[in-house]
């Protein structure tokens, strides 16, 4: 006999567990099936443990600059084991909390892997053994994603590694080559560079952080290069020859080959969706480029089967997964939500400097046919940034010249990942430049630069 539910969520990541809790709030009888770890990649091997590592890197950076702030200290030691242990501790603590949250909301959790068995049924197995058969009129697939592998440069776990291994180093590699300059690659570059590794970043496209505004990408590159990171763009890794304690990597840059010998290679060239072993064969669920195709409410081609989060396509971000989970569940419960909010999903990179953005880049806005007004405000005009010793940064805002709609906002510098939310709210509430200009920002804060950037777009900047 199958266990019956109103809704079953496959995968307990930020997409799945949030969807399940929302469903429970809406009085649905709901189950989550999770094969490995509640909290998904985000809490166990993604967002959270990397932020813990980057916090250590930031402190290391401050320690390196103690004299700037009036201190001196001898014999500062880096204990990599403790840094990693702290990161794991944070991840475990938060992931453990998910179990409690689900329990509190009366969500039934099944430990095992789920596979569609047709007719609203799911088979759950663990280590090859059947655990349960479940049935529900609605099934949400939130199975997430895993690192993409490049043929010939496959992850071996020791010399060519993925984010999993990069998050738990036993010794600090003397040198590293990172393939890919998206958020994940750049965060590892920043972390290892701050701790003292020699870092090379190789990016196929012509700039790093390619989804960001070109101007911000440029500033990020300058900043990283100043910190000693070597950056190669329009560059492809041709081959990697493994030696005993090193890897010799051949990179083609602008038609010429360059050879680097490094201790390790981190492969951060994107992800592929976990669409295998889900029983999708024979259903009307459509998979394109390893991702499940969905509409604005997570519906797949198969009635009663939905997909959210990383497995349903970019942007591959935890808050996007959660948002999709909530919208999908509310639609299932007949709540008439608005479709997924694709334009209002902020993206953050927690490197040093931080990068954060929401909405369209200047180039995209122009391509979309908007006449734009662009505002810029550099941190050197901001009192708090100077006081903090963080004078590097820029806030750029893009408005539709006709309606005053904020089309996009792009930031680089200290604390910007915490600041971007102000603009996200502005966009969600559909404010125009007028409301932003009349908003009072506290002094002294870096957020004042957000105000000034808007003022600058309309020729009214004060401090620059």
């Amino acid at each position: 006999m199958a266990d019956n539910f109103d809704l079953i969520v496959v995968g307990g990541g930020p997409g799945g567990y949030v969807a399940a809790i929302r469903a429970a709030q809406l009085k649905l009888k709901v189950a989550v099936v999770e094969g490995k770890h509640l909290g998904g990649i985000c809490l166990n091997w993604g967002c959270i443990p990397t932020k813990a590592l980057l916090r250590s890197a930031e402190i290391k950076h401050l320690l390196d600059h103690l004299p700037d702030y009036g201190f001196s200290a001898d014999n500062v030691q880096v204990d990599l084991k403790k840094i990693v242990a702290r990161s794991r501790g944070v991840a475990n603590k938060l992931a453990g909390g998910i179990g409690h949250l689900l329990k509190k909301n009366k969500v039934t959790v099944y430990d095992g892997y789920a596979k569609l068995a047709g007719g609203g049924k799911l088979d759950v197995t663990k280590d090859g053994k059947a655990v349960a058969q479940l049935q529900a009129p609605h099934i949400i697939l939130a199975t997430g994603a895993r690192p993409r592998q490049i043929p010939g440069l496959e992850v071996d776990g020791t010399q060519i590694i993925s984010y999993f291994e990069a998050m738990v180093p036993e010794v600090l590699p003397k040198s590293l080559l990172i393939m890919g300059s998206g958020a994940i690659g750049i965060e590892f570059a920043s972390f290892y560079n701050d701790l003292g590794s020699e870092v090379i970043v190789v990016e196929m496209l012509d700039r790093i952080l390619p989804v960001e505004d070109a101007e911000i990408s440029g500033l990020a590159r300058k900043s990283f290069e100043k910190q000693g990171i070597k950056i190669l763009t329009s560059a492809t890794v041709k081959k990697a020859v493994k030696g005993k304690d090193s890897v010799t990597v051949t990179v083609e840059v602008g038609g010429k080959e360059q050879v680097f010998t490094v201790a390790q290679v981190i492969s951060a060239v994107g992800i592929v969706g976990n669409v295998e072993n889900l029983g999708l064969e024979g259903t009307k669920v459509k998979v394109e480029r390893t991702h499940i195709v969905v509409d604005g409410f997570g519906r797949t081609g198969e009635p009663g089967v939905y997909a959210i989060g990383d497995v349903a396509g970019p942007p591959w971000l935890a808050h996007k997964a959660s948002h999709e989970g909530v919208v999908c569940v509310e639609a299932i419960a007949g709540k008439n939500p608005h479709a997924f909010e694709t334009g209002n999903i902020p993206g953050c990179t927690y490197a040093r400097p931080q990068v954060a953005s929401v909405g369209m880049t200047e180039q995209k806005a122009k391509e979309a046919g908007y006449e734009v007004k662009v505002g810029r405000f550099p941190f050197i005009g901001n009192g708090k940034a100077i006081a903090m010793g963080e004078p590097e940064g820029l806030i750029k805002t893009i408005f539709d010249a006709k309606t005053g709609a904020m089309l996009g906002a792009h930031m680089i510098g200290a604390e910007v990942t915490e600041l971007i939310q102000g603009y996200v709210i502005a966009r969600q509430l559909e404010t125009t430049e007028a409301e932003l200009m009349h908003t009072v920002f506290p002094h002294p804060t870096i957020s004042e630069a957000m105000h000034e950037s808007v003022l600058d777009a309309y020729g009214q900047v004060i401090h620059f």
Binding site: D295, H338, T403, L407
Partner: protein, 436 residues
Amino acid sequence: MSINILMPALSPTMTEGKLSRWLKKEGDEVKSGDVLAEIETDKATMEVEAVEEGFLAKIVVPDGTEGVAVNAVIGVLTEEKGGAVDAAPVAEKPAPAPKAETAPKAAAPEASGGGEIPTPFKEPTSAKTEEHGERIFASPLARRIAKQSGIDLATVKGSGPNGRIVKADLDEAPAHEAPKEEPKAEAPKAAAPATPKAAGPAIAAPHKKIPNSSMRKVIAKRLLESKQTVPHFYLTVNVELDALLELRAKLNATSPKDGPGAFKLSVNDLIIKACGVALRRHPNVNASWTDEAIIQYDDVDISIAVAIPDGLITPIVRKADALGLAAISNTMKDLGARAKAGKLKPDEYQGGGFSISNLGMFGIAEFSAIINPPQAAILAVGAGEKRAVVKNDQLAIATVMSATLSCDHRVVDGALGAQFLATLKGLLEDPLGLML
């Protein structure tokens, strides 16, 4: 110090009006209580009285200006003769205050930079009011786009939280804002797209343009909304009037010739009374739909459609079930006369739980009327005319009137409407019951 005189809201539904004429000139001394100007609202002409004393320093909105937004600055008073007028008066966001009063001076800077200050009356609507006098919730961007493209937000259905109007409600066309990453399967819209801007085809035939009066706009908006959003259905009965006409003649003969007790009952007065009694017996027709509940009114207040020079208005006979026939008749005469003169007070035409529209005097045999929201029914009354009827299997002549009830099916089902009409027919055909 100068004091702004604001366009008053003479009724809760008023969002804009016409400033017909000023009764004071620039420089005139003004005492509290003086009539400053006349304003034509959607339904009536009203006088604007001064609340403050001083001198009318400046007339901002000249005579005959249409579409002046409520709370726009129409003039400026100064305390002293020739006193300085403070910096350009600008429209404040409509405050709830329904009276012409001192407004806090507020600069409403248009953020477009460049220091231009909008004239108060040409760029109104920073927050419009809805039909029921409520604020319209709309995002700032939606407001701006609506203003730029001439969309009346009151006609737009909001799909945001609690019905808030957002940008997507204004453009049916999918937002051209591309997602940050690669495209996904097209997202079906969650909510029905809102009323698009009706851009009629350009009219080429020789013509003249009659600008829409405030009343015309309100009629257009309310009746369109009613016909589009209220599920109407119609029930018609034929009523023999001979007994009623006989009674009416007898009663009228008893009226004193002149003086306070005089009356002259019309057929319509008897119909009003009959409807009043029938509504008291069928209170579920004297009702309104809301999403949460059906509202049943305690009083039987009947709106009577009255044709006036450039439209119509519906003054209300209150507690029609309890009033005597002479009282109904005299009330109706007074309301009708003042309606035609444009002198009704808002509370004399706002409200009511049921309407009657009578086109019998124009010889109309029968018609169906559009419900007057938020009411749930309206009775359309045709002419009483001699018709051949069959009585005891014999052809006979009777004075017959057709009456059609338009019902809001959300409130009044077919059987209920039919029972109400049966009661009404009984009262009209055997009118002695009305005397009780």
